[in-house]
Symmetry: D3
């Protein structure tokens, strides 16, 4: 059996490899496909708490699984955190940067505050150059503008969430998507519900710089 394994290895180096991973394995050999167990090690300065490490553990696990088709249980992440005195760059000790806040948590806080029209709380979560784009391509910069924009459209609206997606972009921004359905009341007192929406947020250094909103409000109202 060992002998067989050897010849598979050799095979793999020659033809199979050139054909780019179209590895065909018979049931006889004992090797099934896709049984790799990737291991990630992260070296950081210490100072991150359990929640922040959990977020690192999740993000690194998913980063690997984005390319390598390993079941989650087969992806191991080890975080090696070092005291400042054990880490030198250019011969100098360094102080760890405070972890970025969880972008999804920030977005949730923002959406909750907006729904309750607690503008001050919401405003604290925004960067100075905040910009929001609403259906029809309306661009606004201040939350008060949004209130005005919404007034002729509905009395109130609340959100039910189907899910959040979040990631770091290649650039500076973390990106968060919130999607679900809207329910509320039109100005004429009639109510609506199950109106699909999706919001896309960009966040830099823990502050929201951009909100983009799409939803089916117009589509629904157009329907007879």
């Amino acid at each position: 059996m060992l002998h067989q394994k050897a010849s598979i290895s050799i095979f793999h180096i020659s033809i199979i490899f050139l054909e780019r991973y179209e590895i065909c394995i018979t049931h006889n050999t004992g090797f099934s496909e896709g049984v790799e167990m990737p291991i990630v090690e992260l070296h950081v300065l210490n100072g991150y708490d359990i929640e922040e490490k959990q977020r690192l553990g999740d993000a690194l696990t998913n980063a690997v699984r984005f390319v390598v088709p390993a079941a989650p249980e087969l992806v191991t992440v080890m975080i090696h955190d070092m005291p400042a005195e054990d880490y030198y760059r250019g011969g100098k000790s360094r102080i760890p940067a405070r972890a970025l806040p969880d972008p999804i948590a920030i977005v949730k806080n923002f959406l909750v505050a907006m729904e309750a029209r607690k503008l001050e709380i919401a405003r604290d979560l925004l960067a100075n150059n905040f910009e929001m784009t609403f259906p029809g391509g309306v661009v606004m910069h201040r939350l008060e503008e949004l209130i005005v924009w919404a007034q002729p459209r509905y009395k109130f609206v609340t959100k039910t969430y189907d899910g959040f997606d979040a990631m770091q972009s290649n650039g500076d921004a973390a990106v968060v998507f919130a999607r679900g359905t809207l329910q509320g009341e039109y100005l004429d007192g009639s109510s609506f519900e199950s109106v699909r929406f999706i919001d896309r947020f960009e966040m830099i250094n823990g502050k929201i710089v951009k909100q983009e909103v799409w939803n089916d409000m117009a589509e629904i109202r157009m329907q007879p």
Copy 2:
């Protein structure tokens, strides 16, 4: 709470140490600017090509930056890929799983094929249980249904992309967002352009299982 953690960290870095390295810390922030340089090591079986490693490099870099506020230039990723004979699990050699295809590339191929109405090519990219949801909450499963659904709405539509976002979810699916603007021609021959859209895709094992679409078509048509 974060603030408290910061001050604890500083506390056990003695005064001498701070003086020694000329670290200036204001009482307000606890931390001086982020100067950490996280290092990620990934151990996988060899068999991944340059493009796949580049995708792993990007995904792992962003995973760290999602939590640690390091500039990209300060995040190092080292991939250690091992020949099968150097890796044992349960005392057995393993064969690497073929890398998952780039989800963004799959989505682009799908959108291009759909725009050109090359349904066969598009269909090859779909999982058996594919489901799409279009504005108004219309759920369809076959591409032909979509063609029928679109007929009374516009003669043709093409897409201009502002950007793609992609990530692995905690579950089995990779998620891809495509956003940008639509242009095309209504049935009455009049044209439209700059209509915002966003699509959300879920992909499992390289096949699209779900497409969700939001856009401003109705909003635009409702406008006087």
Copy 3:
């Protein structure tokens, strides 16, 4: 001198390597054979005590020396133990399993208890499916059976140990060998000593599942 070293290296890559490690080195080169210093790193969750780590250190050192002919002083083992918050599998923290007890210690306890006929203590160390095989191929399952079996053979017997060997098998069982000599008294009051014996034990999850006994009792009694 550097130049010479280089050419040795090149030699080693071409001919020597193909001839499978029959490396012949002249006294001029300065390289003796067998001067490697293998290094083992073990990553585990923390929770193991000094004794358990010592056992890991011994077992890993011997595992390497089983294949690589390095003197013990040249084998380094480093144990990296991580707090649970630094280790993720499938994005989840894990709790370390309690170390297995030292199989040799268990066997010693069992043999001491049996010698003193403290059957309850001995029984606590046995798995439910315990089986023992004594000279002549006699198979028994309960310690009381053994007492009965021994009665017509000797009044009492004690053991002097020459050594213990222990290892993990490829299967679930750890294996322990105890060997040495027996001394005691026959039923007729005459004494015996220096009778060679060896016992083989299998242990699963810290419980003895199997004992096999060989000795020279019959051989000695057959001698005139």
Copy 4:
């Protein structure tokens, strides 16, 4: 004492952490089931072939499992083998020692040769200071002595193997145990079979230095 250690470990895993990860711990066990996934890394100079690496993979896996109760599938071994130019001790490159031969293979060869009375082949596998001890404590040094010793005992004997156990001792010797049953013919022409035996071998630098034999021959012959 182990129990106490467990509760300390739990103590400094805060309630929040337990809630977070939905870890349920009963007060009786201290530890939930063993879900750890130990990782072993071995750094050696390159020059070992697939078979030798497989033996290292097995030995290291079992070394960990001797102490840590992980299922084999959860123990990963990574072998990092370096070209000589990448490894320095005392600033000097080193040449890898040729791997030790598989002790079990040597023992099998020896036993096969002895059974077939091919003394020269067998003798090549012995160290100069070879010593063997047979039932009754008979010590011999040369294979010819054994032939003489056996002549009055049986016409011939062959072995059926139930299993081999092998390990590196803390000292210089590798230890191999072979066990099974003997069958053959007595001098009077009557046959015997299913006679239990066990042999213990010590091997240094690939040569057998010691053989110890125990079996039930006398026990069986004593039986009526």
Copy 5:
């Protein structure tokens, strides 16, 4: 030769790859500017304090930069210090050696003590086999000899330092160079200053074994 190596490297980086990462390579250099970021990991037993680790951080950073043209900010050093219970050599735990004192500090102490003619303090810093060589090749072993040697030459002399250089030699000795200028008073009461000097020290186990002195005293006095 180096040039050739460079072009080989480029050769197997395909055009696509170069385009992909926007790497611009002129035909003259083969290599674009040094953008590597070397990482050093040091594994030691714990027991070293912050100052000793800082010296290790500096020495390792400079060791890399001696060969690799990386800017200091791009050289990372990580010190992994282990408790004794996590480190085994030959299966035995080890106790870390106390760090060697900073050779530059020792030399400074010696020079300060000598300037102040505190011979006892200076003598404590010397090894038994201490030897000093002064301009003209004068060799002395005891500090008192030096006092006598200096008497006909100047009333007193003090030193202004331009810099210190220190390193570990390939042998047992650490080497320290002190250089700068001398000022003082001749026996006739006239003063001198800005007289260039350099001292070379060898230190073994923290004790000075050798001092060699060169300076411009004679050159200056010879000048008209």
Copy 6:
């Protein structure tokens, strides 16, 4: 202070531990003899040749020994060199910088060329801002100046070397010291020999930027 640290270390090594490993510690020293075996790992991009790696091996070994009193044979250096495709910084592959030339080799070439008055060869080894300082504090920038300066002093001079010391400074420069004795002929035809000298060189990017010279020429000539 070191002493105190030592006793703290001992303090948390329990009595049992000390007994276990037969470690004898006197109250005076705190530490028993240095038996540590430090391990250095260097991660670089591949592209360095055997000679350059040997220099890295030497420099890193000495860097550790500068602080940790380990015998050279107990310091291990492992170089992990990665293909460009396995290393990402900021998500981008990098190209390794060409190794810096050996500073001692450059200095030797320079000194040989100067001795033979091959000014062009020597000049190629100098940086544009080259500066040399000779006995008496004479500062020159061009090699021709030096020729002129030497003319009234001696007919010719050659060097015998006792040794070279070289290191990377904390700054940009590598520093090289050459020391030994001068021999040659004065203008009057008389010869001199055994005149001690030392040269200090600074080198940046492989070019000599600074030469400082001290010797006993004047001292010797002043002697009767």
